[in-house]
Symmetry: C2
Subunit: 593 residues, 2 copies
Amino acid sequence: MIRMSQSFIRTLREDPADAEVASHKLLVRAGYIRRSAAGVYTWLPLGLKVLRKVEAIVREEQDAIGGNEILFSALQPRAPYEATGRWEEYGPNLFRLQDRRQDDYLLAPTHEEMFTLVVKDLFNSYKDLPVMLYQVQTKYRDEARPRGGLLRVREFVMKDAYSFDVADAGLDASYEKQRAAYQRTFDRLGLPTVICKADAGAMGGSRSEEFLHPTPIGEDTFVLSEGGFAANVEAVTTLAPAPLSEAEIAQLPAMHLEETPGASTIAALTDFSNQAFPGKGPVAESGEWTRYEMLKHLVYMLTYPDGTAEPLVIAIPGDREVDEKRLEVAVAPATAVPFTEEDFAKHPVLTKGFIGPEGLGLESFSKIRYLVDPRVVPGTSWVAGAGKKDMHVYDLVFGRDFTADGTIEAAEVRDGDPAPDGSGPLRLTRGMEMGHIFQLGRKYAEALELKVLDENGKAVTPTMGSYGIGVTRAVAAIAERFCDDKGLVWPRQVAPVDVHVVAASKDPAVFAEAERISAELEARGLEVLYDDRPKASPGVKFKDSELLGIPTAVVIGRSFADGVLELRDRASGEVTETTPEAIVEQVLAAVRS
Amino acid sequence: MIRMSQSFIRTLREDPADAEVASHKLLVRAGYIRRSAAGVYTWLPLGLKVLRKVEAIVREEQDAIGGNEILFSALQPRAPYEATGRWEEYGPNLFRLQDRRQDDYLLAPTHEEMFTLVVKDLFNSYKDLPVMLYQVQTKYRDEARPRGGLLRVREFVMKDAYSFDVADAGLDASYEKQRAAYQRTFDRLGLPTVICKADAGAMGGSRSEEFLHPTPIGEDTFVLSEGGFAANVEAVTTLAPAPLSEAEIAQLPAMHLEETPGASTIAALTDFSNQAFPGKGPVAESGEWTRYEMLKHLVYMLTYPDGTAEPLVIAIPGDREVDEKRLEVAVAPATAVPFTEEDFAKHPVLTKGFIGPEGLGLESFSKIRYLVDPRVVPGTSWVAGAGKKDMHVYDLVFGRDFTADGTIEAAEVRDGDPAPDGSGPLRLTRGMEMGHIFQLGRKYAEALELKVLDENGKAVTPTMGSYGIGVTRAVAAIAERFCDDKGLVWPRQVAPVDVHVVAASKDPAVFAEAERISAELEARGLEVLYDDRPKASPGVKFKDSELLGIPTAVVIGRSFADGVLELRDRASGEVTETTPEAIVEQVLAAVRS
C-alpha cells in the first residue's frame, strides 16, 4: 500500500512552461516524471511503476517467442562501432567520451554491434541457430531538439531484439514471429498501430516495417489507402503513368524554344504560359497551362560519408515540393544540401531559375548527375528551363528530347495520390513510431566477421533481424491517448496501481474505514494507493485522484455516516454508490473485468 | 521453462585468462556474464536473472521501511556537481562528456545532488518530511584498475537511498531504519556482514558505518575485537596511554643531546643506541632500546582542493609505518605526498634523517605544522632527531621538552593493538564493502540550497542520510561465497531458476518424461531450466549442471527404464533416488524448505 501522506507523490497545479502536448503536461503535473536536463527525465514513484509495467508486457511477449533476455552496458568501446562505420555515421547524435586512458567510448544509441559480437563470442555452429536475443535497456542519443516530455528524449528505455539465422528463410520466420509479437504487445498496451512499409535503405536489409501509432502529435507522416496499403512517406513509391511507345511519341509536337522574360519561378512561368500561349496548354478543353508540366529543376550538393561531394540536379513536376525526408532517404548514405549562391557561382553552367535538362544543344554539358521524378516517363511532355536566362523549352518530350541518369523519389506525397499497389487513393496521416522491425541481413555479421560452421563444416555468415520498441515513448503514447481535461486515465494493464482509496473527510471513522478497505484490497492481491493525507480537503483529493488517473477509485466520504461509499470509474466517470460490506468484492470485480 | 537447446546459455571449459578470483572464473565459465570492455560486463540470461533477484530483495527491504523508488538518468548536467565541488573532487574517476552544444555532462557515480534537487523541486514544508527516496540504478566510475570480474567494475548497479529530515533526531531514526534494513537485506542474500565504524571525514557527516563481508579477496581491511568492536582501519582511533602529571614529569631524566653519526634511519638509531648506551633503554630489566621510542618524523606536502599547498611534519613511534589510507583520511580533503628531494631543498630547516620536534633551541623555527601520533602524550619519553645532521636528543619528554599542533591517526593499525573501546585486542581482517550508510548532514542541502519552512514559517535546511548497496558486487560476493571446485552453488533465494531438469539419455522416453516433469513443475509455480539438448552426453550435462549451480536438479537417466529418477542437491551433493510419481512433490518440498 502506498500511503500518500508518506510518499514522494506531489501534484502540481500549473502546466510546465515548456509543455505543449497533453502527455508531457499531465505526466509532469501528476508527478510521474520530472525534467533533470534537456531531454533527460527522472522517473518519480508512480511514473516508474508505469514504466515497469510497460516493460513487463514487452518482456513477456519477447519471452513468449523464445527471446533470451540479456543486458549490455550503455558504455561501449569505439572499436566495434568503428568496424561497422557507425562511429562516424551517427554524427552529432552520438554521445562520445574518453576514459582516463584517453580510450574512446560511446553511450550506445543501439547495440547491433554488441549483439553480433556476443554471438560470435559464444556460438560457432549452425546447430546453435536460430537464436533470438533481446534486452530492455537504457539508450542515449544526443537529439538536436528534445521535445514533448518523453516523446523525444536523450536518454530512454528501449527493447531491442536481434535474430540470428543461417538461411534467409530462417530470417523470414524470425521476422514473422517478431511481427506477431509486436502486434500482441501494442494490443496489450492499448495502442492501435498501423504496420507501415518503411525504408530499409541505409540499414542495408530487405524487409522493413514500422509500427506507427496514429496520433496528431506524431512526428512521422505515413499514408494509408482504403485497400490496405500503409507506408511511411519515405517508403512510398510513385505510381508512374504508362510510357508512350515510339510510334506514339513520334506524333507529339516538336519541342520549341521560347523567350520567357523574368519567368524564373514555377508560378511566374505558369502565368506567363497562360498569357503568352493561351489555350495551348495540356488541360482538356480549356487548353490551360498548369504548374504540373512546368518541370522544376533543383540543384543539391551531396556529401558522402567519406567526405567527397558531388552536385545533383533533380527534376520534379512543378506543382510539387521536394520532401526533405524523402530526399534524405533517396540519397542516403549521402546528405543533400541545396546549392548555395557560392555553389552556383562555381558552376556557371547552371543558370539559376532557368535550369533544364542537358543535351538540348543550347548549352555545354555539365556532366552533373541528373535524376527525374518517376512521373517523367517516355512520352511525357514538359516545359523546362533552356539553360539560358529568360528562355524555356516547350513540348519537351522525355525519351525523345532528353533523358536522365535515373529516377528519384524526392517529391512530396499528397493526400489523394494513388497507392503504388493500386489499392486506391492515399490518405496522409500523422503517426508516432512505436516499433520498427527490419531484416538487417548480413551487413553487421560481415563487418564484425561473425561466422558459423554449416552442415558441411564450411564457415557461413548468419543473417540478422533487428526489432526495436521504444518503451519510454510507449509510456508517453499511452498517456497521450488515455487522458482527458481532468488528467490521466490509465488503462488497467499499465496503471501504476489498481485502485485509489480516498479518505474524503476529517472524521476519524472515515480514515479507519479507508485503512480497513485498503488493507483488505492489498491482502486480496491488489496494489493500492491510499490517500490518507490528514489535512487535504476532499476537493483537493478528488482533483488529485482525477489527475493521477488510477482506473478505479473508492471514495469514503461524508455519506459514510449513512453507510454509503462510492466506487468511481475514471474512464467512464461513472459513480456507483455501495456499502462497506460490498466494496471489496466490487473493486475486485472491476479490476478483473 | 528455459530449454537449453534454444537458449543463449553456453558454458566454457577454460577459465578466462584474466581471472584470479573464483567468482570471476565461474561466472564467466558458467555463462552468466561476459566482458565487453575493461571493467564493463554484459549480463547473459542466467546472470541477469540472478541480478534481478538480488535487486528484488534489496528493493523489498527498502519498500518495507517506506522507501519511495524513483529513477534518475545516469547522464546528468555538470552544474549541480559543480555546486557541491564534486565535479572536480572526483578527479579521473568521473566519466565526463560534452553534448552537441558543448555543454558539460557526467555519468553519475552517485546521485546525492540529484536527490537533493528533486526534493527541493517538489517539497517545501516540514510537513513533507521525513521522506526516504531510493533508486536501483546503473552507475559509472572510471576505476583505474578494474579487477576480479564483477568485484570492481566501471559500470555497476547500485541501490542508493537518501533520507531527508528536518531535525537531527529524525536523521538518527532514518539511519537506524536503514541500518536494520541492511541487516535484513544481507541476511536474505546469504552474506554475513560486520558493521564497521567507517570514517565519515570528507563526507562531512557524523555517523558512518560500512557493511563489510569478511572474505580473503576483500579489498578493505577492518578490525574486530572479541568484545564486539568493529571498524574500518581508517576509522580506528588509537588507545593512548594515560598522560603523566606535572609532578611525575618533573622526576623524569632531563633531555640530552648526543652525537649519532650516520644513524639516519630508525633501525640504525636503535642499533646505535643499544651499542652506545647499553642498558639505558626503557625495556624493563634489560634496559634495551627498541624501535618504539625512536620517534619517527616524516614530512609530507599537503595539497588542498583549492590548489594551495602546505608542508606537514608528523611523528609516530619508530616501530610503525604510516598507513597511506589512514593518512589520506586524516588529512582529507587535502591530499598528502611525501616530501621530494626538491621539497627538502626548498626547506633547508628540515635535515633529512635527523628531523625532530622544534623548540629544542637547536634550530630556527620552521613554522611548519607538526602533528604527533596519539601515543605521544605528556610524560612519554622519546629519542628524536635534533634537527642537525648526526645529532639526536634522548629522554625527550612530550609536554616538557616539546609540544605539537595536534595529533594525527596516520600510523598503521596492527593485529593485537587494543580496541579503542577497551573491548580487547584487535584482529585484522579482509573484507568486501557491501554497503555503506552515513549521515551526510546538511552539506548537500546547503550547497544546493534545499530549504523547507518549519512550524513557524522559517526556512530551515534539512539534514540528509545516504545509504548505498553495491548490487552488482553483491552478485559477485554471493558467487564467491557459494561455490566449490565444480562450479557455482546458488542459494535458493537468488538462484537464476528453482530447478534444473536434466534428460540424461538418448532414449526418447526419457525426454518425454523430462518434458512432463518440467511442465508440471512450471505449472506448480517453479522456474525450470530444462536441459533438453539432444546430442550432449550425460557426462557433459552433469558437468554443466554442477557448473551452473542450480540448487536442485532432477536427473532422468538410464535407470528411468526401471522407474528410478534422481533428485540432486547441489549444496550437499546428496543424491536421492525416487520415482516419477513422487518427484514433483519432492522438488516442491526441497524448493520450499
